[in-house]
């Protein structure tokens, strides 16, 4: 089975469409959306409705901290994120809000765990910023493979039983074989707001038979997204950062 992962879409329609098209062209059997469908971007309604339709077709969809904040509030968020979320609240009906806030925090499928932030406390949204946090997460789940998002930076962490975790930055388009003897934690990277100094949208593909993972990046029409952000009077920084992946 080939599983396509999309994380941190952040209401970016152009980026999400580009990733879905690329995934369609490459072929896959299942979609997993790893949370943060909304927040920051100008198309929360379109992105939410698209994800709802994908779920109808069999996609697995998880809750991220921005999705949860529609209900839980924005206390933990910075100014920019809060402003964007306040604006987002106005764009969604109760139907979409209820959908987003009631999504599951994690999902286990065979040896795989899908979660937005980390395995040790999925609802607290702590970040996996390096091998130490990755190791903590890997040691606190029985799943051998963890797929997550949240940091917006594509990474692959790997660990054998008695050793510390190590870090690797996937090379775009290059297949990475995953050894059955190790634990892995894969941060898929962000569809709608990459932060690794690459502006192209990120998504990932895992093949359960070949046991390999490939990180893909897709260029998209950032100009249009930025115009929409400005037209909605969202903070300027949200438009600018899309061009630099920062």
């Amino acid at each position: 089975m080939r599983i396509a992962f999309f994380a941190d879409i952040h209401a970016n329609q152009e980026a999400f469409e580009a990733c879905l098209q690329d995934a369609q062209a490459r072929g896959h059997d299942q979609k997993v959306v790893l949370g943060d469908i909304i927040g920051y971007g100008p198309d929360p309604l379109w992105c939410t409705q698209t994800v709802m339709a994908l779920q109808q077709e069999g996609a697995l969809v998880l809750r991220g901290n921005h999705d949860a904040a529609l209900e839980e509030g924005t206390d933990q968020m910075n100014d920019v994120a809060r402003k964007a979320l306040d604006w987002t609240q106005q764009q969604l009906s109760d139907h979409e809000k209820n959908y987003l806030t009631s999504l599951p925090l994690q999902h286990r499928d065979e040896e795989r765990l899908y979660v937005h932030a980390n395995a040790w406390a999925p609802a607290l949204w702590d970040y996996i910023n390096g091998p130490r946090e990755a190791e903590r997460s890997m040691r606190l789940t029985e799943a051998r493979l963890t797929f997550c998002g949240h940091t917006h930076v594509p990474k692959l962490y790997f660990m054998s039983a008695q050793r510390p975790a190590a870090e690797f930055t996937p090379v775009t388009g290059k297949s990475i074989p995953l050894s059955p003897l190790r634990h892995y934690l894969i941060v898929v990277g962000s569809v709608g707001q990459p932060r690794d100094a690459v502006s192209a949208a990120a998504w990932g593909l895992y093949d359960t038979v070949k046991r390999d993972y490939v990180q893909y990046r897709v260029t998209y029409d950032i100009e249009t997204t930025a115009k929409k952000i400005r037209a909605a009077h969202l903070p300027e920084r949200l438009a600018k950062r899309l061009f630099v992946g920062g």
Binding site: F158, S160, R163, A165, K174, P177, S179, L181, R182
Partner: protein, 323 residues
């Protein structure tokens, strides 16, 4: 485990085990045949049983990842890969020639033969570097010369692929490599520089020309670190048959700072094939070690530069002039 129950006659995924040709600490090597396949083939099966050395499997994991990605005459052709979850194995081309280990045991050998061998091995290294791989265990036992003359680098258990996670990165607190041939930066735990292979090849050339290992065969970490501070005895001090230009090449490969070595294996191959173009320095004629202070100075300089982020193999090759 499975690997211990392997017996002649057993068929695995269409390959018939014919004869156990080698069994070492890490894996068993079987000569295998398959209907419709005329090439001589070897199957490598790692030991995974209880009580087996757990580090053995790490090397096999690494080779299992890297070997199928390599192509060309300078690697053993990888013909089949076993499913790790069932029975991990690699089937590869069975090279009939012996490794250079036998030649090394007869060293010193004639300088002109060493020059030819060195150029063949450097060409092979250049080819695997071009394919994003650093070998990290270049030594006579891992080099085979085909009948038609090209060199093959075998055993990718310690190798690193530039586009794949380095499974050995956190696997050991000790330097990873073969003590006698390991580059100084490898001793310090750095696994990012293809020029480490050029150092190791320099150690092989030193051994073949002189019959001695440039830094001995230390077993302790302190012993291995000696190469950071002590120049090897100049080859010409051990044999006056060695021409100055060959000594220049060998000592340049063995420079403590990677920036002072040949920057690509292709450049080294070129130098070995065009001795008239080798620029001779003071070290060409040297017959005494320059002493501790000079080496330490060189080491100090190389380790007090602003740290650079890890550099990709291809970036280094792209920057370097090619022969």
């Amino acid at each position: 485990m499975e690997s211990h129950r392997l017996v002649a006659g057993r068929v695995i995924d269409g390959f018939t085990l014919e004869e156990l040709v080698h069994t070492g600490g890490m894996a068993a090597l079987w000569r295998v045949t398959k209907a419709g396949e005329t090439r001589p083939m070897l199957m490598k099966v790692p030991f995974l049983g209880e009580g087996d050395d757990p580090s053995a499997i790490v090397g096999f994991e690494v080779e299992h990842m890297i070997l199928p990605r390599l192509t060309g005459p300078h690697v053993p052709a990888c013909l089949a890969v076993g499913d790790f979850a069932v029975l991990p194995y690699l089937v590869m081309e069975h090279l009939s020639a012996l490794s250079l280990d036998a030649r090394a045991k007869q060293a010193p050998i004639a300088p002109e033969d060493v020059v030819w061998l060195g150029a063949q091995i450097a060409t092979a290294l250049q080819d695997i570097h071009r394919q994003h791989v650093i070998h990290f265990d270049v030594k006579p036992a891992n080099i085979i010369i085909r009948e038609e003359g090209s060199a093959v680098l075998i055993d990718y258990g310690l190798a690193r692929h530039d586009e794949l996670p380095d499974l050995l990165a956190e696997e050991s607190d000790l330097p990873i490599g073969t003590s006698a041939y390991m580059a100084p930066e490898q001793v310090l735990g750095n696994r990012t520089d293809p020029r480490s292979d050029i150092f190791s090849l320099g150690a092989v050339l030193y051994e073949l020309t002189t019959g001695h290992l440039p830094f001995g065969n230390p077993t302790s970490r302190a012993g291995m670190r000696q190469r950071l501070y002590h120049e090897p005895k100049p080859p010409r001090a051990l044999s006056d048959r060695i021409p100055p230009w060959l000594q220049e090449i060998i000592l340049k490969c063995l420079a403590v700072d990677p920036d002072d070595r040949y920057q690509t294996a292709g450049q080294l191959a070129h130098a070995l094939r065009h001795p008239d173009q080798v620029v001779l320095t003071e070290r060409a004629e040297r017959i005494k070690s320059p002493g501790f202070v000079k080496r330490v100075k060189s080491w100090w300089q190389s380790h007090n530069q602003v740290p650079t982020p890890s550099v990709r193999i291809m970036d280094r090759l792209d920057r370097a002039p090619m022969s």
